[in-house]
Amino acid sequence: MPKMNLSHFEASFLFAVFSSVVLGVVSKRTDKERLNYGLYVFGCFLAALFGIGWLMYFGHG
């Protein structure tokens, strides 16, 4: 089995995609709400990814 080498960003991005799909599908009651919530959660993942990334960059000096 080949070993996959992903960067931090790629791994976090894929994590965000799949988690957002599941959270969107199971959380709400109509398809429109599911889509909106999935996009919202995905946006939150990305905001946290970039926010914490920059925080670590500046915190590291």
């Binding site: 791994a11 994590f15 799949f18 988690s19 599941v22």
Partner: protein, 139 residues
């Protein structure tokens, strides 16, 4: 100040209604939704959980094994083990086929372990959703 009245607790649906979707949902991610004829949602859930699990394997993530020791070791390893087995058939097939990646240092291995555990935890959410649909609490 008047105390807020709690809404009446909904009775638990009978076990024969939800057992098959929940059990199938554990074994095959999204299987419960397939059984309940929510095929679109089932396909999305199945694809997401399976992709996350397979990516974890491709990144050579380690599977957790129950361990005793200090409280943190017990929590991490038992929690991780429960997360791993919650993937159902994916976990069972992987271990039966001899996958035994030792826990190694490295960011990619670490991401892999987290992907494997998260796939199981997401599958628990999928099982809860199947339970609610089977019990008539959701459409």
């Amino acid at each position: 100040m008047a105390a807020k009245e709690k809404p009446p607790k909904e009775p638990m649906p009978p076990i024969n209604v939800w057992l098959a979707p929940v059990a199938l949902g554990w074994l095959v991610p999204g299987g419960g939704h397939f059984l309940l004829k929510r095929t679109g949602r089932a396909a999305l859930l199945c694809a997401s959980v399976t992709c996350m699990f397979v990516l974890g394997l491709l990144m050579r993530g380690a599977m957790f094994k129950p361990q005793s020791g200090d409280i943190l070791t017990v929590l991490i390893n038992w929690g991780g083990f429960i997360g791993d087995i919650a993937s159902g058939l994916l976990y069972l097939l992987t271990t039966w086929l001899g996958y035994s990646q030792p826990d190694m240092p490295g960011a990619v291995h670490d991401y892999g372990s987290k992907f494997l555990v998260t796939a199981g935890l997401l599958n628990i959410l999928v099982m809860v959703d199947a339970y609610e649909i089977a019990g008539g609490r959701k459409s």
